[in-house]
């Protein structure tokens, strides 16, 4: 296709605002963050901030805990979203839009209000404990709040829509003929799902998993309220370094480690998808 000069100019004009916005408000701060992590105030390039981070037992525990919670939330989201997305993608348009609205409801609720709602469910006087006690299953309330389980529940509720939406979008593009052909060749429903639907929706899976994982490892409000300040995650550790002891280099190191981790996970998912397909 041959582009005319006017067409090229139009493309530049159309792209420029978004490009400038991303450059000024994302790329430049990212470069500043990176430089802050390796160039402390007294000058000179150093990686001691990174060495200190990985040498610290606390940092390693917090990092591994954050990774673990991120992976669990992503895994649960995948398992819960696939069947739901498959059904949604094959529903009549009107019913689908209504159900999609319900799916994205958590994203439309204020983060603090949504997280405090978990207190009503998981607290000592919460719904679950009241039910367990009234059924005589426990005598004293069980502690659900301020545990990793509470954080996983809260993050899964929050980020589930980010997995469902790309999966629905990917599955809508799978022609019904392909599924019928698989069945006519003897594949049962499970085989069709695993060998046809999953590979053909892997773009949505990679996008959704990246969004859910990134959201989970960088979330602040939900872990802070449901986990409490004692159950540190990377985001709450970053707050400590930045706000409590004003160690901006250590805070920048944590931020860069978080960014590199999410990029690495995205890369792994992409590599995995290519091999699968």
């Amino acid at each position: 296709m041959i582009r005319r000069p006017n067409q090229n100019r139009s493309i530049i004009v159309l792209v420029a605002p978004a490009f400038i916005f991303v450059l000024v408000f994302f790329v430049l701060p990212l470069i500043f963050l990176l430089s802050q992590s390796v160039l402390p105030g007294d000058g000179g390039f150093t990686l001691t901030g990174y060495a200190d981070f990985f040498e610290s037992r606390v940092s390693r525990i917090v990092y591994l805990r954050t990774l673990k919670i991120g992976l669990i939330v992503t895994g649960i989201s995948v398992l819960m979203s696939y069947p739901a997305a498959f059904l949604l993608a094959r529903m009549p348009a009107r019913r689908r839009s209504f159900l999609m609205l319900l799916v994205i409801l958590p994203l439309m609720t204020n983060a603090v209000a949504r997280t405090f709602a978990w207190l009503i469910i998981l607290g000592k006087r919460g719904m679950i404990n009241q039910t367990l006690m009234s059924l005589g299953l426990v005598e004293t309330p069980v502690r659900f709040m301020y545990t990793e389980t509470a954080i996983v529940l809260g993050l899964t509720q929050l980020f589930l829509p980010l997995m469902v939406l790309p999966l629905v979008s990917a599955m809508e593009n799978i022609p019904d003929d392909v599924l019928e052909a698989a069945r006519s060749l003897g594949a049962n429903r499970l085989t069709t799902f695993v060998r046809i639907v999953v590979p053909l929706s892997s773009d949505g899976l990679v996008l959704g998993a990246t969004l859910v994982f990134t959201g989970s490892v960088t979330a602040f409000v939900t872990p802070a309220i449901l986990g409490g300040s004692r159950l540190l995650m990377m985001s709450t550790l970053l707050r400590q370094k930045s706000v409590a002891i004003f160690d901006q280099q250590a805070a920048a190191v944590i931020a860069v480690v978080m960014i590199l981790t999410t990029l690495a996970v995205n890369l792994l998912l992409r590599v995995g998808r290519v091999r699968q397909v």
């Binding site: 610290s56 037992r57 606390v58 525990i61 917090v62 405090f116 207190l119 607290g123 000592k124 006087r125 919460g126 502690r143 709040m145 301020y146 802070a224 409490g228 300040s229 004692r230 159950l231 540190l232 550790l237 400590q240 930045s242 706000v243 409590a244 002891i245 004003f246 160690d247």
Partner: protein, 355 residues
Amino acid sequence: MRSKPLILLLLAALVLGLAAPMAVAQDTQTLTVSIWGFNLDVLEENVFAPFEEMHNVDIVLDTGNNSDRLARLQAEGENTTIDVVHFATQFTHLASEAGLLQPYNPDLLENLDEVYDWAQDPLGNQAGAGYTVNSLSLIYRADQIEAGISSWADLLRDDVAGYVSIPEMSTTFGPAALIMIDRALAMADMEEGEAEINYDADLAWEALPQLADNLVTTYIRSSELTTLVQEEEVWVAPYASFAIGNLMNTGHDLSTVVPEEGVVGQTNMISITAATDKVDLAHAYIDWFISHDVQEAEALDLIDSPVNATVELPEDICALLTCGEMLDTMIVLDQAEVSDRLADWLERWNEVMVR
């Protein structure tokens, strides 16, 4: 043309209209005050509006929490427009260490002599004057803890295990709680008398794993403690005096106690920035804030506990503030000692808490 004089007249009116406010603005100088964003309507009535009228000045507010405002002050350096700044003592110490403040001149503060000694110069370098005091004490559920609570060491008791919360180490009162537990443990080993404050808090650090086992969680903001008490997750905790109203509103059977080892006092301070050239006006602002009239008005509105010793309050008001007999047992910590240890303490604290 007939319309020409009319246009000239309109132009003249426009120029005069624009110029008049500018002339007024040139006569009125501004004082930029960095302060928390709480109770500003009451402060406007008790402090800002009368000061503006007395000194023909416009007060411009820069609001935010301690750390945000300190970070801004650091980033702006000599170019900051902030003239005076309100900080908790530990943040005043950090700002002072960073060279962001200039010492006040006691000769320019007529009301300073009326202020309690411990609030006149809390950091000992005239980096700022204390204008209010908060205290850290203990609160507990009287209906759940039959034996009651009388000491900081009671937070380690088995009968409260699983129902304790304490302020996180990174907060204003985090180190203070640990130091008071240390004092309580030291006094428990003594037959009589009082233990000195040990800023290394060795006994408390030894006991921290045991305390950690008793904790539901730690808290960063007083509002978090209120929620924990409200939801019956917590029965006993150290609390900051300014949170008492919200805690009592939870509707539970709560009792406050002045522990045997005393309460911790923490002053909020007003300081003059190094970059300001409105030094006289800044001193006038501090002097006004620590004056009898302002201190009394702020106390009666339950906003700030007074540091001006001439203020006498009704008993019911005093009971809700840090004043009266509580001041006799109040310990004011040396923030320089605390701040110097904070980074190391935070790492040690995390070591225990991540178990």
